[in-house]
């Protein structure tokens, strides 16, 4: 179990804190055994393609707090993803009946002189400007490779400006080069929120934190029935609301990869219990998750009724659906915990999962609890998975694997990966809403989308016929892991 230290401005990166890795080939059972046995080691690559960085992930958690502004202390290019997230933010407002508004995002626009003489004055001026222009309830300052290497003392500047302006000005350290696991950025954002925004509880409430991205509100009915109020965090919560997430009765994880640090921090610092069982994907997974929820919220009997009703409602349908998918194969690429969840749902539906390219692996989460491990649950409930590749969006490995495994369907969870399925003529599905497949009904919702995708072969067949392939013939004939480990010249990933 990692210890949350709010005195430190920076969160410890996942490689160090959890022993997380980005390179592995083998089967899922081996990965789980090594993880739980503490013998997992990272394997670097001699060739690599661009991945993602912490600053993007930190920004995505901070940029949809309606009354906060975000300043990226960086050259202008680091803010390239801002309008994309703003689009998501605005669509989320429509879904939630919130007034239309755009996020307030700023770049300090670091230039060459800042890298030579330091950029703290530039940052100070930016914070002042933003405060006067926006009058936010808080300002988050995210850092960059440039500000990190130059050594700008962002912590001191934000502390001074907090005093001067009378609102929290909170540093979020998320330099891209610091961690090769981009989800460290989630931890950075949550560290900033817990450290700079969350206040000690005044009282306990009947609210339940749901640590999620910006997915659908599928927990409303369940929690209301149990007598609790859902609070979906962080997106669309105000600074005032975030101040009091310490008062909640529990925290739910939709995806441990996302929320591991926040769940653990709220429990360790403020005693908010985290639902530690891996999230409710697949029938058995949902049973256990609900039972844990019932235990923590003290609603055991009601939860048993919900489980019985869920089984009665979904299991007969599921039988029918399974027949439809009998003998079909699938390949999954996704972030860690949610990828494991998708694998569970696919196998629940009767798919043979031929392999997976999962972006990283956390051998343990911040709560130190083995029951949180969704991959272990996959292996336990449905058996081993061959061709389980830990691969941080290395499309060259993915294409090679897809060509070999030739699945009937390719499931992706992140942008930039889907075309490789479609270009090879494989029906490909990306679902943005990670809550879609949660719980009993989620299995059926997902089945519907999968059936639709499997049936729609015209598009991919035609696309494949007319697509180009940027990978050499040589490469496509090599072992997909040829650049992983082996005769290492240098450490690369």
């Amino acid at each position: 179990m990692s210890t949350v230290n709010l005195k430190s401005p920076e969160v410890v990166i996942r490689e160090v804190r959890l022993g997380s890795i980005t390179g592995f080939q083998g089967d899922a059972e081996k990965l789980v055994k090594k993880s739980h046995g503490g013998t997992l080691e990272d394997v670097p690559r001699r060739f690599s393609q661009c991945t993602g960085c912490s600053s993007g992930q930190a920004f995505c958690q901070l940029c949809m707090i309606p009354d906060a502004a975000v300043i990226n202390h960086a050259p202008i290019g680091c803010m390239g993803d801002a309008e994309g997230f703003n689009f998501v933010y605005r669509e989320g407002q429509v879904e939630r009946d919130l007034p239309r508004s755009s996020g307030r995002y700023f770049s300090t626009n670091i230039d060459e002189s800042d890298t030579i003489f330091g950029g703290t004055k530039t940052l100070q001026d930016a914070i002042q400007t933003v405060f006067e222009r926006v009058h936010p309830h808080a300002i988050f300052v995210t850092t960059s490779c440039a500000s990190g290497i130059t050594g700008d003392d962002v912590e001191s500047v934000t502390r001074e400006m907090t005093e001067k302006l009378g609102i929290p000005v909170v540093a979020c350290f998320c330099e891209g080069f610091k961690s090769k696991i981009w989800t460290t950025g989630f931890d950075s954002a949550y560290h900033a929120i817990v450290r700079g925004i969350v206040k000690p509880p005044r009282k306990k409430t009947n609210q339940v934190n749901i640590i999620n991205f910006w997915g659908s509100h599928i927990f409303d009915g369940l929690l209301h029935r149990l007598g609790y109020e859902p609070r979906y965090i962080v997106a669309f919560s105000t600074i005032r609301e975030l101040e009091h997430i310490s008062e909640a009765a529990a925290s739910i994880q939709v995806c441990q990869t996302l929320g591991t640090y926040l769940g653990a921090a709220l429990e360790q610092v403020y005693g908010v219990p985290e639902i530690k069982t891996s999230p409710g994907y697949g029938v058995e997974g949902t049973d256990e998750w609900l039972r844990e929820l019932g235990r923590v919220l003290d609603r055991r009997d009601e939860v048993e009724k919900i489980i019985a009703e869920g089984h009665a409602r979904v299991l007969p349908e599921l039988e029918k659906v399974r027949e439809q998918f009998q003998g079909k194969t699938a390949f999954v690429t996704a972030g860690a915990a949610h990828g494991h969840a998708l694998i569970a749902v696919l196998r629940e539906l009767g798919f043979d999962v031929k392999g997976a390219a999962i972006f990283h692996h956390d051998p343990v989460y911040d709560n130190g609890c083995e029951r949180s491990d969704m991959l272990a649950r996959d292996v336990k409930d449905y058996g081993d998975i061959q061709n389980f590749n830990v691969c941080n969006k290395q499309a060259f490995e993915l294409v090679n694997l897809l060509k070999r495994t030739k699945p009937d369907i390719f499931i992706a969870r992140h942008g930039g990966m889907t075309v490789w399925g479609a270009k090879l003529g494989i029906p490909t599905l990306l679902i943005g809403d990670e809550q879609l497949s949660f719980g009993y009904d989620g299995i059926l919702r997902y089945a519907e989308r999968i059936a639709e995708t499997l049936d729609n072969t015209e598009f991919v067949t035609n696309l494949a016929k007319h697509s180009t392939m940027p990978y050499t013939k040589w490469w496509l004939e090599q072992d997909p892991y040829a650049f992983l480990g082996g005769d290492m010249v240098v450490e690369s990933y």
Binding site: S48, I76, C78, A82, R104, R133, C145, F177
Partner: protein, 438 residues
Amino acid sequence: MSKVIEQPRYSCALGAEQTVVAIRRAVPVLHSGPGCCNKITSLIGQGEAYAGGSTIPCTNSNERDVVFGGVDKLRSVVKGALQVIDADLYVILTGCTASIVGDDIDSVAQEFRSAGKPVVCAETGGFKTNNYRSHETVVNAVIDQYVDAHRAEGGVQKGLVNVFATVPYQDPYWNGNLAELKRVLDGIGLKANILFGQESGGLPEWKNIPNAEFNIVASSWVGLGIAEHLKKKYGTPYLHFPYLPVGGLETSRFLRQVAEFGKLDKKRAEDFIGREERKFYSFLERMADFLLEFRYGLPRRFYTILDASYAVGFAKYLVNELGILPARQFVVDNTPEEFRDEVRGEFAHLSDRRSAPVEFETDGGVIQQKIREDENKTRALILGSGWDRDLAKDLNADLLILSVPVEYRLVLNCGYAGYNGGLRVIEDLYDRVLGTYR
């Protein structure tokens, strides 16, 4: 005075990776942090293309590379790229990490070139400048380190021209714009190398760059650094047309200047211009009654939040050919000081009798505030980006997205340059206007 930028509308120096992606069968190899490419393509990407987006090789610099240098890793990744990615040109570009640390990328590129591999490099550390300027750096690097050694045989060819008119992907309509410029230049008797995109001949065209009779820069300022470089290096003269030519008036003006500069067959050029103008103006005539009669309101004044080339090109077109008058004009590309007077000069003569003041401002928040403070008496048109959607809604204005981030449009081969581009402006603009009526 803060130099903060709200709502970025361009990228950093490394954004010029997209310049490489726009060259057929060329691939950038980034020696940068892990997230750079993702952020750049979020703003100025348009799908994976051949080997862009997630396909781009990258060293994904980590702490160790920053402390000890990352040259060995770069060498390993370039070696892998040559084996794995099926391309004809590999362009190493640095991000902030490698540029601050000072990794010697020249030596790495040189090593590969010595072994006969098509590998070039350019310093594009994000903090150094923006992607407008570094577009020039990257093009010049390819010329110096690749083109020069592979120059096509035959020497200078009569009628062969290189066109530098747009920054691929930073201009969302680059592909369509270049295709139309090629069409009209070929039409007056030239053979135009456009170097980027579907209508270009790819690297064989690049190898022919030194053989051009002259070069054409059709842009406010980006591209002048390339044309100057080619003038020094190969003695190629160049013509500077200082904005994007849009519509009948400006495209004809552009072509006549080119014809004169290149001493082309005047009759052939005039025949082509005449044919194109007849087509163009027959459509303009066809829609004139709509412009004059539509009773529920059309935009009567326009705000510009664009880079210099687009700003001038559209302002001239809207004023002279569509009768829409200029409101406040903002140029957002951080135009270097030495080129600002020329841009001001163009705005001072939008037509024979009309001028408009122009402001150079990179901070979208400031621009929007100023527009909001304006008297908003008549229906306005905003020429801007995806960032300006709320502004347009709040003012009941029409928004034509011409600048990145595009977000609310999907762009394939649409272009606004030339005669065809001018017509496309009319269709797209009034499609949006009419779409507001129920």
